[in-house]
Amino acid sequence: MAGTNPRGKPKSRALVASAAHGGKKKKGVTGGAGKRGDRRGGRHGPRLPTALRRQLDALGPSPSGGSDEDEEAGSDEGGHDVYEYEEGVPEEEAGKNGRYDAVEKYEYEFDSDASDADEDVPSDEGEDMEEDDAGEDEDEEKQIRILQETTGMPREAFDGGKKKKQPLELPFQPGVGDGPVTIHDLLNNIQGKPGYSKLRKRLQQQEKKPMVVQAPLAKVEREKLERSVVYQQSKKEVTKWETLVKRNREAPTLYFENDLNLGVNTIGAIASEFKPRNELEKKMAEIMHSTEMMEAHKNDGVKILELNKIDVEDVRERQNRLAKMRSLLFRHEMKAKRIKKIKSRTYHRMLKKDKLKAASADFEADPEAAKEHAMKQEFKRAEERMRLKHKNTSKWAKRILKRGLDVQDEGTRAAIAAQLQQNALLTRKMNSTKDDSSSSEESSDDEEDDHESEANILDKGKEKILKILGDDNEIPTSGVFSLPFMERAMKKHEEATYEEARLALEECDESLRKLEDGNTKENGDSVKVTGKRTFGPVKNTNKETSKKQKLDEADKNSDSEYESDSAQHLDDNEINKLDDVQIGTALLDDDEPQDDLFKSFDDIIKNPGPKTTVEVGMLADNSWKKFKSSKGNGGSNINSDIDKSTVKISYMSDQKLKQLDHNSDSDSEDEMVEGLLTISDAKENYKIPSQADLIRQAFAGDDVEAEFEKDKLDVLNEENPEPEKPALVPGWGQWTDIQHKKGLPSWMVKEHENAKRKREDALKRRKDAKLKHVIISEHVDKKAEKLLARNLPFPYTSKDVYEQSIRMPIGPDFNPAISVAALNRPAIVKKPGVVIKPIQYEEVDPHEKPDEPKRVIQRAVPNPKAKRTSAKQAKTIASNKRK
């Protein structure tokens, strides 16, 4: 029935219509398409009673497809009313009768003419009707127009006539009932009217014709079409944002400065805004804010403030006091620290002694403790008396004594002496301890070293012994002692004691000697002072040791000294020569011991205290001076020696160097010191260079260049080593003669050539390849490598671009203050606490210059240009896509 000319309809129109339907369902957000759809929907026969439609058409400005644009824009034409009316009707209908179920609508929406053909019969008929109606309308329209032209009266006058016609048809409508109005119904209505037969004929003809119904499109195709439509739509949506996004992307900095005023959020502010909510809080507030409390608080505060008043003087005093205390504490602490660190044995020994003394003082105060101490001491003494542990009774002591103390080394002797002393201390009679201890205490008071105290004791002992020895024991001539046997016995006894005393003396001497071995000089002195009698062996050893020492020193000197000690130099030339040979590091190494030695020499005589530059220097130098002057002509000799040596080191003539700079120390060292004495030295030292030297100097150039070339070659070879010569693999192809005949395998030769070429390339690439007189090291400094970038940073693809981009320093030291901030600004500027909102649409001129200094994304006050609709539109797109 239907499908009069569905094929002829342009596809696009159908598409638009269908899309429009969808739009209408969603209450027509997008203007144009939706409205057009409305109108078309209106043209569908079955939906509107014909009469109504006619009336509407009569009201409408132009029935033909006319100005879509006008309507789209919702302009102020007369059609406006009509539009509104139309809008209303389909909605109502949709509400009333359920003819428009969802499925149907879908088919309408996106289908082409084919879907039209697929439609229900009624709708098709409607279409036909529409055609007819259109024809009629056209006729009427024409008629009206002609009338209008001829009479010049307004259109409404003629329309009225038409309206009057309508009631003729209207009454039929209720008779038709709910079913769809067919063309036959309509035909019946106009039966007997002129033109009816003609119409019927046409209808019949049409009905007779075979109906051509297009098969519905495949689902895939349909969906493709749908998607393409959606795509078009969404593209339009998205492209709108493009410029905006581009602008933001290109901006060096984005600002999010919304909510600039974040409000007060200090604790105080929050507290001030606090309002009590629950019971407890309310109660608390009541109490807190009660007048009494407030009053009390106020008063109290005042009182406290009054109390706070302090005198400035007091404060200062207090501060001073505190500072003093602090400094005292600090000092004490430092002292304690220092003392704690001391490792000296002597010091600790003294400390112990002090402690003991303090303890003894304690004992005086505290009888209990004293008693205990006394008990302990007594016990010790008793033990000693019983065991004689310290009286050379041990196996070790016996052995040593047997071998003789003279042969022993110092340590052993000292140990033996110490043991004996301990024994003496412990076995001393209690009564005699008093005076002895006092004397020992005295001595220990002013002595620093324990060794020395020991020595003192020994000395005293010796003196006593000597006194005993020296005393002629007067034998009482009367009484029992005068008896002859008594006399004999006495003599014997005397002899025995004498012998004993002598032994003891010897022991003493030995121990003394050992004690003072360090500084032999004093030792000798002391011996001289104390000993009226001298004992052979003792003296001998003394001399021997001192001699030995001297010899040693001399040796050391000659070994170590190089340029300073002229005497030594004169003495042993051999050593000097040796020095000449191995000058390099040996000299440096020797330097220090030599120095030490010097110091020890001088410092033995003088105080070895902390070195104040002037004094020590002077003293040292004075002594030196004398020494040197005594050796008159030594200096020149040394000089020549040194010259030789230096010549050996550096192949250039040393003398030349010397005359060039006054710094070469061979002369300076000698001329040095006490300006007055040696001023003229510098001038005397100048020598006219010998002929040989002059020649060498004149031809120095050639030599230098050759040398340099050699050096360069060495460096090159080191940094780019030459490839190895190809060698036969041992045992490979050698036992037949083939290998020899063939020569090396080709791959080996090739490899070698490759390596050679590579080396040459490398050499050519060197920076100093073309500079004959320069060697530039190609060594890679591993420590400096950490300062270089390992590889190109991300966005960069070219090394040059990267390196150029970092050429400018961006710090405040290198840029004017006005540009520093811009140079160092981060990509996004945002205050903490600012909420970043989704982007808002904003009209952007795509051709505007992008060097606007600030790119504000989010303003404190929303941008007036921003459109709220954007979000909505996005939603529609999304929904479309879903469909």
Partner: protein, 534 residues
């Protein structure tokens, strides 16, 4: 008339503007530190945009710097300029006549100090040029405030003094004495004795790195960090004794002049010299570096003074003159001393150094050291009979930046600067020939292959060690001679294996096994069964 006049005026104005613009452009170029990279080749649009924006900022910055320059650099240096180039010569101008011409404060600056007793003098200035330390060969050390011409401290060390050098400020200075260098403070108190340096002949202080470097009589170069006390480096130059040493102020590389006519350049992190140049055919007597770091002047016994371009390592100019001491001033004047005469050269454009001034000391005075005073038009001269200072117009930088050096700083400023400079201390690794290399991309380094010989040697060593392994004594026939031999053999093989593999890798020999099927094209029907090559 009215109409005629404005035209040339306008023209003149335009010309003036043009000139000003040109000058501005030149200055902008200076401040933009080279050109931007060509961005056309960049594919990444985003990066391109970013870089373009950056460049624009740089441009703004440079322009702003130029505009502020006239406020920050208010004074310009002057020179002695002859009225008539042909007749008048600036080097004929004597000091005595010069002193009368200059302003009062400048006329007070030159002096002659005759100190005949304590030998040839050497001197050093602080970075800001305010203080001077002098060292007499025979132990006289003195420090002076040159602004007020006050003696701050003077003392006698009673030892040879070979060189003096200020450390980062006037509070400390180092003196190379008979055996060791010592560090004294401004009151003359000995603070340190640097024994490790040995008998040093010359001292140089690297300000930015806080390194004190010295060369001693054995040709050993020492670097010591004076802020931590750490000995940073100690290298043997192996080129004999020398006392010709200077630091390049641009990159803190130390230049040494040697007896063989060589000049070597050193940094603390390299055992070998960075650059070795053959500069003279006789021993090098003096060396000096320009402030910009690209010029070096050397003097040798071969009666030549040469000026070098350190970017190309080529001689720019060579003059026949003797010089015992050389120094570049801040503005690029070059002073050479020869006997009792000082000559000062000036760049007349295109690095053509012409004699600018001459000064002759009293006959017989041997000049030991010449040194320009920073920020002043003064040349300090240390000679055998004391010290002198002469006026050299146009030698010093007329404008000082108080963030860099302040000749009139207060003690508080000095303290702050000390802290600041300690915070900004550069590590010794940062010393390199081209300091702009920092942060650039490291040049790709090929992994160096070991040569066959080396591999063989290593293998032999490994085999030896494997052979010498002592086995445990085991019972039940497990340590029979045969078993042991077997074990040993196994060990040796195990030791050899990695080296053999290496050997194979290194061999250029083509692989013997040829893969079958790779080259052969299968019939189409069978192709689908072939393994896909991927």
């Amino acid at each position: 008339m009215d109409s005629a006049k404005p035209a040339p005026e306008q023209k003149a104005m335009e010309g003036g503007e043009q000139e000003a613009l040109d000058e501005m452009e030149k200055k902008v170029y200076k401040y933009s530190r080279g050109k931007a990279a060509y961005l056309g080749t960049l594919r990444d649009k985003k990066l391109k945009g970013q870089l373009a924006a950056r460049e624009k900022l740089y441009g703004h910055s440079a322009k702003a710097a130029v505009q502020t320059e006239k406020w920050l650099l208010p004074t310009e240096g002057g020179y002695l300029e002859p009225d008539d180039e042909d007749l008048e010569k600036t080097y004929r101008y004597q000091q005595s006549s010069l002193v009368g011409e200059v302003d009062l404060s400048s006329s007070r600056k030159p002096f002659d100090m005759i100190l005949p007793l304590l030998g040839p003098y050497t001197l050093g200035y602080t970075g800001n040029g305010r203080y001077m330390v002098v060292g007499g060969r025979k132990g006289h050390v003195a420090m002076m405030d040159m602004l007020n011409l006050e003696l701050i401290k003077e003392f006698q060390v009673r030892e040879t003094v070979r060189d003096v050098a200020f450390l980062h400020n006037e509070q400390l200075y180092a003196v190379a004495q008979k055996k060791y260098p010592y560090i004294y403070n401004r009151h003359g108190t000995e603070i340190h004795c640097l024994k490790e340096h040995g008998k040093s002949l010359k001292l140089q202080f690297l300000e930015k790195h806080f390194l004190l470097s010295s060369i001693n009589s054995f040709g050993q170069l020492h670097y010591q960090d004076i802020s931590t006390g750490e000995m940073v480096a100690n290298y043997r130059t192996g080129l004999g004794r020398t006392d010709v040493m200077r630091v390049n102020p641009y990159n803190a590389v130390i230049g040494l002049g040697h007896a063989g006519g060589k000049v070597t350049m050193w940094k603390p992190t390299s055992v070998k010299p960075l650059v070795t140049m053959l500069c003279h055919s006789g021993p090098v007597t003096a060396i000096a570096f320009d402030r910009g770091g690209h010029l070096m002047a050397t003097a040798g016994v071969d009666r030549k003074v040469k000026i070098w371009d350190l970017r190309k390592y080529e001689v720019i100019n060579s003059y026949a003159a003797r010089a015992q001491s050389l120094d570049f001033s801040q503005k690029g004047l070059l002073a050479c001393s020869n006997g009792s005469q000082v000559e000062i050269f000036r760049d007349t454009g295109g690095q053509d150094y012409k004699i600018y001034m001459k000064h002759r000391m009293v006959k017989g005075y041997q000049i030991g050291k010449v040194l320009f005073r920073p920020y002043e038009d003064i040349l300090g001269i240390g000679h055998s009979m004391g010290l002198s200072a002469i006026l050299v117009p146009g030698s010093g930088e007329p404008n000082f930046d108080t963030f860099v050096d302040n000749p009139i700083e207060t003690s508080k400023q000095r303290r702050e600067k000390e802290v600041q400079s300690l915070l900004n201390k550069l590590q010794p690794e940062t010393i390199m020939l081209n300091p702009n290399m920092i942060a650039t991309v490291r040049p790709s380094r090929k992994k160096e292959k070991k040569t066959k010989k080396e591999i063989e040697e290593e293998m032999e060593d490994a085999v030896e060690t494997a052979k010498s392994i002592e086995f445990k004594k085991k019972t039940k026939g497990r340590s029979k001679a045969s078993k042991r031999a077997k074990k040993r053999e196994e060990e040796v093989l195990k030791a050899k294996r990695p080296f053999l593999e290496q050997h194979k890798e290194n061999d250029g020999r083509p692989d013997k096994k040829q893969r079958v099927g790779d080259e052969i094209e299968l019939p189409k029907a069978l192709q689908r069964f072939a393994k896909s090559r991927q």
